[in-house]
Symmetry: C3
Subunit: 280 residues, 3 copies
């Protein structure tokens, strides 16, 4: 890992399940600004469903690349707070990631491959007394602020070889021309984001004839942009984060099709009969 | 149009219908900070109802004057994203407005009268590849950031003579002493903001005897401030953005009267009989 | 009171009941940046329930200590706007507090004991014309911005000896071993924050045998951290702001127990019979 932050104007992002009606987010910001008054704090979201580590992991996966080198991402969805789950710092993709070791940064590490982790054990960087329920304020915010002031990653603790894994995003092959994925996110507009990427559906693998199977429904309309679709049309589109989405024009595909996050779906690259039975 | 931004500390505001649970807003902020690390980003709102161009247009109309000269407003409510709707930059009121050409800045231009527009065609300012569903991140954010760094408006594309129009906010005369307007916004407290301004109801036009007619209801109480009203009183008040509002003390006038955005209403400046029939 | 702000990089926080779908918060930010383009604005929350002064007062009480010296907190929950309620500036705990004199800063003053107040009467610091419904934009934001630029507190008006009081947070003694408090806040996760602090339950006062009584329910499980609790367990825990909370693991204690904000509860430090009758 690099010795210390050598980027100017470091950004500190915050991603939590704290909601916005409590004092939690403000307390983290106050802590950061108490240590680094020039920190540039950016909210990613505080509306992650409570305790939903995968939702936070996916949200960060979709936007970390938009931030400049040197950005410090603090992510706190932390059902294990106060227990023996480790607080960690990850260095990856010329950025930093601070939060609990519960898989929240795992998909980014899996994509980037080259990463290093530190177990945050040096409590001279913590706010004291450290509460048992709010490490966001007492550990993660002050560590991020100290990092943004130029403290070297190695100063925060010992290297960690392994971090907690999350269920993989990669689709699994069901047969030569069928892969299984899942709905990983339903966005504000009701678009259902699947785990299928362009690479999963690459020309080498997929014939021109294809269909997406979900909830006994077969979707085989593909659009390049939203307003290209007809009214009441359900279609697939590659979303801005590179994942295939199930969408409806000016309407919520999730509501129309009654889709839920986590549901599995099949992508079939040639005409097959009776495939529906395999898709629950 | 002026040649380039000559104000220090330019503010970039964001106004969208993206909600706050997704990565969309964060991706825009990351893009801006990747280009201009010192940009001062301010959220106006991300809770505009999905695809509701008029709601965004009205929100911006109510607050752009509060921002300093040189502010760059980025507004993205963009049902036509990916189609041939134009991306534009408007210079008006010593500020800049960046977004889709769908009417979103039209009411500001109509009020200010003096404005110029550029069709954003110079893709050297865009993030590549430009997605078909997220021009907020790929076109509008990077253009705003480049503008805040001092790029001249003319560098972004060719001047546009016409921009898309929205339905006018001006009331229409029904008779000598009756004007028709509509409810343009219902705020967080349930106040119903009408399209009537002080100028519309000026002494020259309006007698001392007046009434507001909506939903078979006649309102003729006028208050200067909220706590002046009695309990359960429905009254009119001039709101902080200069529009006449229908309000209730410590309660939601919209709920009490079952009013909806878009409803028409009549302002009658003298006693008239059987006017109710004209007000649907 | 000190003569003027001598801290660098002053932070201005905003706490309101304005919600996030209107232009209100943006207008305040625009006003601040029009006066001090380098102000560092931090949102505490805009999701305080409409007109709920106690909710705002408690939220600020829980996080002001996390902010650096010199921070200016602007809190606008202001049902009396436009009436004769006073606009005030309080200096306390090396920080500043700007808002209506309706009790919103009272619990902080009560805790800190040493404070001074100014009645904001010098309208040269206000935005004109001052509206009757939005002092957040027209009085409090510009005063905070001027303060952050170095104007002396005394320049804003005359000292005030008394400020409006809120109902005290201190529990009341019911008997030698029973104190009565109330639920002061229910957070985003459904934790019910009580008015009992560690000091209220100090060893000198409380025996090892104790119970919390609420809604005919007796709670006597105490946990140090969340994941220590069993599934379906209702337990007490000291929250990160120092108050005793009623919690459930990965669930909403408020929903499970049907608890409401404002409900009274009893803390009994030794076994007693028939205490339930006293707890409504």
């Amino acid at each position: 890992m690099e010795n210390r932050l050598s980027f100017s104007n470091p950004v500190i992002t915050l991603l939590t399940d704290f909601g916005t009606q409590d004092y939690f987010v403000a307390a983290m910001k106050g802590m950061i600004l108490s240590i680094n008054p020039t920190a540039n704090i950016v909210d990613i979201s505080h509306d992650i469903p409570p305790q939903d580590i995968q939702a936070a992991a996916f949200t960060l996966l979709c936007c970390y690349k938009s931030f400049p080198a040197g950005t410090i991402h603090v992510a706190v969805v932390d059902p294990g707070v106060g227990s023996d789950r480790k607080p960690i710092l990850i260095q990856c993709a010329q950025q930093f990631f601070v939060g609990p070791d519960n898989g929240i940064f795992n998909w980014i590490c899996a994509r980037e491959k080259d990463w290093g982790a530190i177990h945050l054990t040096n409590d001279q960087f913590f706010r004291h007394p450290v509460s048992n329920s709010f490490h966001g304020r007492d550990i993660f915010a002050p560590v991020a602020a100290a990092l943004s002031m130029g403290s070297a990653p190695a100063a925060f603790g010992e290297p960690l070889k392994d971090i907690v894994q999350l269920e993989s995003l990669a689709p699994s092959a069901i047969s030569e021309n069928t892969i299984q994925g899942r709905i990983i996110h339903i966005d504000h507009f009701g678009n259902c984001v699947t785990t299928f990427t362009r690479a999963d559906l690459a020309p080498g693998k997929v014939a021109h004839s294809w269909k997406l199977l979900v909830n006994d429904r077969e979707i085989n309309s593909f659009r390049d942009f939203f307003s290209e679709a007809g009214n009441n049309e359900i279609f697939c589109i590659f979303g801005s984060a590179g994942f295939l989405e199930i969408s409806a024009r000016d309407a919520s595909a999730a509501e129309i099709l009654n889709l839920k996050r986590g549901q599995s779906l099949l992508f079939v690259s040639a005409a097959l009969t009776e495939i529906n039975a395999r898709c629950n």
